[in-house]
Symmetry: C2
Subunit: 416 residues, 2 copies
Amino acid sequence: MALLVQKYGGTSVANLERIQRVADRVAESRRRGNRLVVVVSAMSGVTDGLLRMAREIDREPREREMDLLLATGEQTTTALLAMALHARGVDAVALTGAQAGIVTDGTHTRARIANVTPSAVRAHLQAGRVVIVAGFQGQTMGGQITTLGRGGSDLTAIALAAVLRAARCEIYTDVDGVYTADPRTEPRARKIREISYDEMLELASTGAKVMQARSVEFAKKFGVVFEVRSSFHRTRGTMVKEEAKSMERVVVRGVSLEKNQAKVTLAGVADRPGVAANMFSGIARGGINVDMIVQNVSLPADGKRGKAQTDITFTVPRDELSKVKRYLEKFRQTGGARQILFQEGIAKVSVVGIGMRSHSGVAAQLFRALAKAGVNIQMISTSEIKITVVVDESAGPKAVRAAHREFRLGGRAQKR
Amino acid sequence: MALLVQKYGGTSVANLERIQRVADRVAESRRRGNRLVVVVSAMSGVTDGLLRMAREIDREPREREMDLLLATGEQTTTALLAMALHARGVDAVALTGAQAGIVTDGTHTRARIANVTPSAVRAHLQAGRVVIVAGFQGQTMGGQITTLGRGGSDLTAIALAAVLRAARCEIYTDVDGVYTADPRTEPRARKIREISYDEMLELASTGAKVMQARSVEFAKKFGVVFEVRSSFHRTRGTMVKEEAKSMERVVVRGVSLEKNQAKVTLAGVADRPGVAANMFSGIARGGINVDMIVQNVSLPADGKRGKAQTDITFTVPRDELSKVKRYLEKFRQTGGARQILFQEGIAKVSVVGIGMRSHSGVAAQLFRALAKAGVNIQMISTSEIKITVVVDESAGPKAVRAAHREFRLGGRAQKR
């Protein structure tokens, strides 16, 4: 009997009726003879409701108590899903993260899984039970309840699949897989059958937010093959796995668009070791997510001999711009930079594919396609399997469609 | 610094505004120098909402998962109250029942406390923190989450007060103490300043539902003195304690009225050992709460020699009558009784007081008073400190007022 780990996200268990539908699906899989571990999120809206109450009581609630509060959301879903299975005559048991052996460090609200001790899960599986596990949560060695932060339930599922050596891991969500582009932007977008961890990671980091990067990284590290699919219909989703030979034949796997970005340029930064490090450490301490850092080649100022200066540009999510401004103003006043420029209304467009590694000229091909479409490129950054360009936000969708066409990613226009 | 255990019931923490008020009260007590353990219930309505969801999913949900579900209610309140204290600059920590060391047996939904291991609570108190504990819940030695059943939060508070040797235990609820009678029935009812455990127990068992009997029993067993008082105003409540000499001067402490009762009479039951035992065991297995059993003296049937027969009468809550009927019909058919009579529309009136033990004639005095008021007595049952009579439901309030007057319990008519 194959061991299967399934994870159902918040929208999949949003209300009692959807929990019933999940129970139908789980019961069916059980009847086909699978052994099952089912990881669930909080019913969608529940976590937000708890957050709202907490913030109404204390503007900055302590994280330890926040975790105690939030953990109730997933615990509720596990109990209800187990009951729904019982009502279908399926033996099932609901476990909190702690009971399932998810041991974490003590970093409340964004704990890291330290290890998984699945003896209780194994015993229940052995006894023929479907094991329902509360995602997103764990417990420290000292018995403190923790939560794993964004995408935590995916992480729970993948960690359990790893330690239990599950035959398959299925991540049920409200999209039916990973697409070559967002179908709302590009109607010809196709669902990707198979994608490598690295491609998935690059897509995750550039706005195709099917999954958080940390869960994909975890899966890659432990070699957990997983499928992203929809809990609302039966179609096959996207398999995420180690790269296969056949994958390399495809040069570009997908195109992503990330809107709501802002660009920050520091002009006249002293070009000596440590200056950039200091600045970015300061920004990081503020919890700001900096992306796409570009530094121009240094030129002596005014062609004269003197202190070398450089320009640094980076992007941040637009809603973090005010925090960045506050920090950088201090940096400028203490002589860190001559001038600072901010620009909102930009977007990042990325093409991703492991095939790029063995195909030269992909960047040039992209730039030509964008030029032909009349899209002006403001910034460029490349990695081994990704090329990202910054363009005007209004030109974003046009850029996506141009790249999608150029790399022949499309099928016929999809009805979703 | 005195150690104080406080318990706030569901109506006291019914919404965020009330949680804020409880936090004010706790913060004030803390500033006066008390060390504090605060036990909280689920916000009122929350438990019912969870029960409703569970029953919608499965008509008879398994008790293990029920406990997992219900325990989230109190956990939520602890986190919110701790946050409210943080916002007031009071160091506080929220603990689940398990974290607070409440160890129970494995009887889900009505677990019994096996022991309390308060090392974490002690450590937090030592560190100067207010300790917020989720009432109503615990954990088995094997790590299963359990709940303690009705009145469970009171039990948590009293158990913690016992094991921590607290100087005081305050039970905050939506009434401001124990009264000589229900003020809605008898406007002259007075709040009782001090009451013995035994009197409180007898009142609890006869409808004055300020607290469940088991919590009072627990307090008596471990000598925990506690005060029942209102969380909505500041007036002193009722102290519940071991009887003092001065208490005995009062013959009757209070009068209670229990409506919605039904009477069942079995006529012609074989008068031999084991027959009644069998019948009542059967009823008990159905989870029915039988009260006031009266058996008449046996008389040989028809004055002839033959099998001795007897009549047995008992009362049950009216809403359990249909279950009783079903069971007893079988009992009758198998020859257990000649005839069975059911009567709804009755009430129980009890007078309670430890002073009765040393005062004879209390029963006679009560019966005279009821007769004078024109109240007909249908059944009588007495214990050492309680006399209960069954009367017509419509005569219940009149009976309460007559007894209240007879034993001079009243003050001036109260405004509540």
